[in-house]
């Protein structure tokens, strides 16, 4: 399944490396990365393929959120279908 990982917070060095390394270790393949600035906030959006990942979704989401806390960022993972549903006819 395809998932969307979003990282928001104050910009700091090494965020992309940290998050992509974390996903790589868990067999999550990153298909696309984009980033933008929202006001004074940094936002990074990754499209990821989870088909090779052995972990359950809830477990991965929990670990991602904990990793985010450690680096002072908010990290979420969501099923891509929610964005497809809301933004495409």
């Amino acid at each position: 399944m395809r998932a969307v990982v979003t990282v928001t917070g104050s910009d700091r060095r090494g965020i992309i490396a940290k998050v992509s390394g974390f996903l790589f270790e868990r067999n999550v393949n990153i298909e696309d990365i984009s980033q933008t600035i929202l006001g004074d906030q940094f936002a990074m959006i990754m499209i990821a393929d989870m088909s090779e990942c052995k972990m359950g979704f809830a477990e991965l989401a929990k670990e991602l959120a904990e990793m985010g806390e450690k680096i002072g960022m908010t990290v979420r993972i969501q099923h891509a279908d929610i964005f497809d549903a809301m933004h495409n006819i």
Binding site: T36, A58, R76, H79, D81, D84, M86, H87, N88
Partner: protein, 451 residues
Amino acid sequence: MFNKFDVLETIEMIEKEHLDIRTVTMGISLLSCIRATAKETAKAVYDLVCRKAEKLVPTAEALSGEYGIPIVNKRVSVTPVSLITAAVPAESGVVGKALDDAAKTLGIDFLGGYSALVHKGTADYEEVFLQTIPEVLAATERLCSSVNVGSSKSGINMDAVRTMGEIVRRTAELTREKDGLGCAKLVVFCNAVEDNPFMAGAFHGVGEADTVINVGVSGPGVVQHALSFIPDADLTDAAELIKRTAFKITRAGQLVAKEAAKRLGARFGIVDLSLAPTPARGDSVAHILEELGLEVVGGHGTTAALAMLNDAVKKGGVMASSRVGGLSGAFIPVSEDIGMIESAAAGKITIDKLEAMTCVCSVGLDMIAIPGDTPATTISAIIADEAAIGMVNNKTTAVRVIPAPGKKVGDEVCFGGLLGRAPVMPVHEGDAGKFIRRGGLIPAPIHSFKN
């Protein structure tokens, strides 16, 4: 494919503007549970509901985690209990208690369907059933009750309207120590729908399949936020923006509804295109109307603004869902909407204005506290007025008023949680007793004869 701005917009809607799925409600038919005695029926009901809805809460929580969108309420609606206990109506409370126990076992906050459909006439067993409602609502925590007293096709059963005024009063008295909380779990309908996922009026109609998933969406904060970016736009453009926003909100509901139904082995019933407020700031239907340019909700212009909002929500929502139903529209419960609460406390919105508003939106006079000494016939008259609006306009209307025991105008009742708090509002003093005591049936309007 979506772009990064779509992703961020969705996240902002959820995290800052209170976008959520308001309820995933499983409708369960109880018709297979009818046994020779109330006790046996109650056991069959408890077992069936617990088995069918066993995975409702964990499934909804898993979906919420995967899609990253809160699913606030997980609920169950059942076949109107009056039909299940028709042979032993005086013991209906035994089944009510079993349903309340099932709700506790399942970990859901409300279960709806302690209901009767008496719009064309009250059968003997239904007469007995109706009289059990106050005691059952006082003795249970999570059970909700509703009674349909009229329809556009059949007219209004004024004998039932009279009875329900008394039932509402008695329910308030029996839950006196909780400000009449029992009345927050009791709805009197005209044109009740069979697939409503929202409490307290949800029940599972006899025309429905065995087990169905109905979903109610929400998002007043999202609509208000979107409108805040176009403060000077004309109303055509505002309506278009509301439509687009409602489309997105509803698509999230449609996705959750289909997936929940699949995982729970149930049919996907409907998505209810609702704007359901909560007492939280930033989650108010009243504030949308104020964003459109009203100084305060309840003033002149409120009905027009609400009509536009309601219509735009439906148009955007219908496009977004393959199956639409339930109550579908903006809700205006006084105690559950911070904008309504503040307007009512300041005396800026009256029960008359609320009645006018119910002509153009879903659903009716909802969660309104009235003085505790309001006569039962006056409550019946309020129900009759509201039912007449529903009957003539081919829409669902409802009354959920709380005659707060021992309280008078200016006092406040507080239920807490999603039920919120409500200032006690004045009602008219003119006596309608004679009109109500006449009884009989108000005939259906001429335009209902469409065959």
